[in-house]
């Protein structure tokens, strides 16, 4: 391996891929250091044990973990290592990162997300701010993602539609399930606007990637056709083919080494055998997924940054964000349906692709006098994994174990008498002083590096918004004739939908990165995962991560070519 690169990218997921792709295509030498292994397309099967029940794509918690701080009723916080709690905060640690395992529900942010403070004013307990860039700055890159990553959909003009530069999506919508029509009917009756959701999934072959094969098992699973727009399938394979990009798996970076001028000179990493190496580059790009990116910077103190790299104002790790919201579901009992509808409902494979964004901004005096930031409701089938579902049947309603024939009858009833439609709610997680990353003072990973300690406090307002939106989801299920309708907001942070920690902004005292996502006080350090987001918006993040990483890649490329 060469030991001096133009650019060293740390982390190969949605934040790292666009940088490697852009710079390698521009002829710069790029090294991608990825802590996990390199699974190839032919290693991905619909194997529930591998995907979801063993730590195959993520580290074992005894080797690498997090420490999570949960709030007690009296307002104090208890820190618990995840090796004790079993709460796994890893999402996918291999070449391509968690983008291999995403479900590919893709939403752009809306213009209002870029200036929430100006739009809605301050909120006590929330650190919301305006972004240093506007929707118009990101729009060309949202558009680029549609073409390069591959986004399938059909644009229809509606009151909340984001402005777009291309008339329509480059790929037609993915195949849809009959239940999508039922949702449309129910929404029309309720005077809601059912939105057809774009997906980062190819609906026809493109660039040596096959079209989706509609197996019904998508989220949490690696894709065997490369239809899913993971960083690995959509970007890294091409980047390697330029001959300018080297991807090095099993390379866990524990420290960025900086010099007396405050510039990063080398990345230090451990290989598979535990040997330490250093690699030099002109520019370093961190994209380890939000929590781990903050952790790496905090672990990288140097002569000019005793508190950690880019942390001279104590901002690294602060204002961490998750996707706030919640979820709900309703069951459709086969016995209540015509034979035709039963048949339709039992089909497995095509997608639901329906969401509501009517309350992206809530104008409802019954909720608040003034307009308030809301979010979206996304409909999807219950995840098809059978083992987890079966395992929960062993508990009866009194919390006692059930077994023998009663267990068998209950399994039959759970699996064969109905199908469950879920919804998930997405709204803003207000940046707040109780949601942040620090280094744990005691717990270390297998290489002796302090692990991230994460406090995950949520602002109470976010739960109110989540509940408001969940009621809309429940209303749709009711209108559709579902039974056992349930759901509401949740304060539990989804570990896969995480942003912030290195917010960008114009003031170095209150932000870590400038508008270009370059560290204010480190000239050759960029962060290109979701860490930059000062507010999260009310949709899953990945389209925005990809778009922003393409934007920053162009900035770096322009800088390098002078």
């Amino acid at each position: 391996m060469n030991n001096e690169y133009d650019v060293c990218v740390i982390g190969s997921g949605a934040g790292g891929g666009p940088v490697a792709w852009t710079l390698a295509r521009a002829g710069h030498s790029v090294l991608v250091l990825e802590k996990g292994p390199w699974f190839h397309t032919q290693d991905f099967y619909k194997d529930e044990l591998a995907c979801c029940r063993r730590s195959v794509y993520t580290p074992e918690l005894k080797n690498e973990q997090h420490v999570l701080e949960d709030e007690n009723e009296d307002g104090s916080w208890t820190a618990t290592p995840t090796s004790e709690s079993g709460r796994d905060f890893w999402n996918g640690n291999c070449v391509g990162g968690s983008s291999n395992f995403m479900s590919g529900f893709f939403h752009r942010l809306k213009p209002v997300d870029f200036h929430q403070l100006s739009e809605f004013g301050p909120l006590a307990g929330s650190n919301r701010v305006d972004w240093p860039i506007d929707y118009e700055d990101l729009e060309p890159y949202y558009d680029k993602v549609e073409k390069i990553i591959g986004v399938s959909g059909k644009f229809s003009q509606h009151s909340n539609a984001e402005p777009r530069s291309s008339a329509d999506f480059p790929f037609p919508p993915t195949q849809e399930h009959a239940i999508s029509g039922w949702i449309d009917d129910a929404c029309a009756q309720l005077d809601y606007h059912a939105l057809q959701v774009p997906r980062a999934i190819l609906s026809r072959p493109h660039n040596k990637r096959r079209s989706c094969e509609y197996s019904g098992y998508c989220g949490s699973y690696g894709c065997a056709s490369n239809a899913k727009g993971s960083s690995r399938a959509a970007l890294l394979n091409d980047a390697v083919n330029t001959g300018h990009c080297h991807i090095q798996p099993h390379s866990k970076v524990d420290k960025l080494i900086s010099n007396a001028k405050g510039q990063v000179t080398a990345a230090r990493y451990f290989d598979r055998q535990g040997e330490v190496h250093q690699v030099r580059a002109k520019i370093f790009v961190v994209a380890c997924q939000a929590i781990e990116s903050s952790r790496l910077l905090l672990n990288s103190s140097g002569p000019r940054c005793p508190q950690g790299l880019a942390n001279n104002h104590g901002q690294v790790g602060r204002n961490l964000l998750f996707s706030a919201g919640g979820s709900g579901s309703g069951d459709f009992a086969y016995q209540d349906l015509s034979a035709e509808k039963q048949q339709q409902l039992k089909v497995v494979g095509p997608f639901v692709n329906r969401a509501l964004d009517d309350w992206y901004v809530i104008h409802d005096p019954a909720f608040r006098q003034q307009a308030h930031k809301g979010g979206i409701v996304e409909f999807l089938f219950q995840h098809p994994n059978p083992t987890g579902k079966a395992n929960s049947v062993k508990w009866n309603s009194d919390g006692k174990l059930r077994w023998g024939l009663p267990l068998k009858r209950q399994l039959e009833s759970w699996f064969t008498t109905d199908r469950t439609l879920n919804f998930e709610v997405f709204n803003d997680w207000q940046p707040n002083d109780n949601c942040f990353v620090t280094l744990d003072p005691k717990v270390k990973d297998q290489w002796g590096t302090p692990v991230a300690r994460v406090r995950t406090g949520i602002h109470p307002f976010d739960l109110q918004v989540g509940d408001y939106l969940a009621e809309k989801g429940k209303a749709v299920l009711k209108q559709m004739g579902a039974v056992r309708i349930r759901g509401g907001a949740s304060s539990s942070p989804p570990p896969n939908l995480v942003a912030g920690g290195c917010r960008f902004g114009s003031d170095p005292k209150t932000s870590v990165l400038n508008a270009d996502c370059r560290a204010h006080d480190v000239d050759n350090l960029y962060v290109t995962d979701a860490s930059f987001m000062p507010t999260g918006g009310a949709v899953p993040y990945t389209w925005t991560i990809y778009a922003n990483a393409f934007r920053v890649a162009d900035i770096i490329s322009a800088r390098m070519t002078g």
Binding site: E84, S215, S490
Partner: protein, 203 residues
């Protein structure tokens, strides 16, 4: 699924609700702490709740025969629906107990539980669990389920029974998809060939 829970699955359907999740978190925590605490402990120390006068239990027991019989009690075979025997649950459990990907404490716990059950059978019924009739087996298992250690053990066996029932036949359970057929479950494709099951992925 877009939002991922940080816990693998929920105890009940309402897990998404706030209280359900918190309840589940605390249960999971106590289970993990419990497992961590037992590493290296003796069988008697493991199950203090039923620590009984020393019985006439023989020094060596057939752990796997006991585990097999417990599995059959927990998931009995019937004429028209598969149970532990038909889904090859015992073979599957052997795979689990040898699998380094499964928590070592949990694997030890599974096997140790058979000793405890046998202890209890000798103390309460003066004979081996293997020689008891269905009704007395049921009684003993109900007694175990009342202690948290026993409930954990049975719950663990049930988890791996569900895996044997519903995971890919490549792992040794669910032969020819018999569990999937019973519960009218459509598996995903492509399915893992024998040389691509997770212990064999070479990356």
């Amino acid at each position: 699924m877009i939002r991922r829970n940080s816990v693998p699955e929920s105890q009940n359907e309402m897990s998404d609700s706030q209280s359900g999740l918190q309840q589940w978190h605390s249960q999971l925590l106590s289970r993990r702490r419990f497992l961590l605490g037992l590493a290296g402990g003796s069988v008697a120390a493991l199950f203090p709740a039923v620590c009984l006068p020393l019985s006439s239990k023989p020094a060596t027991i057939d752990e796997w025969a006991i585990l097999g019989q417990v599995q059959q009690h927990l998931l009995p075979d019937e004429a028209d629906s598969p149970g532990a025997v038909k889904i090859h649950a015992l073979d599957y459990l052997r795979f689990v107990v040898q699998d380094p990907w499964v928590d070592a404490d949990e694997r030890q716990f599974i096997v140790q539980g058979s000793h405890w059950l046998e202890d209890l059978a000798h103390s309460r019924e003066q004979t081996s669990f293997l020689l008891l009739d269905q009704a007395r087996r049921e009684q003993l298992l109900q007694q175990i389920a009342d202690s948290s250690a026993g409930e954990n053990w049975l719950s663990t066996l049930l988890l791996y029974l569900m895996e044997a029932l519903l995971t890919d036949p490549a792992y040794g359970g669910n032969p020819a998809g018999t569990g999937w057929q019973w519960l009218q479950h459509t598996p995903g494709y492509p399915r893992p060939p024998a040389d691509k099951i997770y212990p064999k992925l070479n990356v």
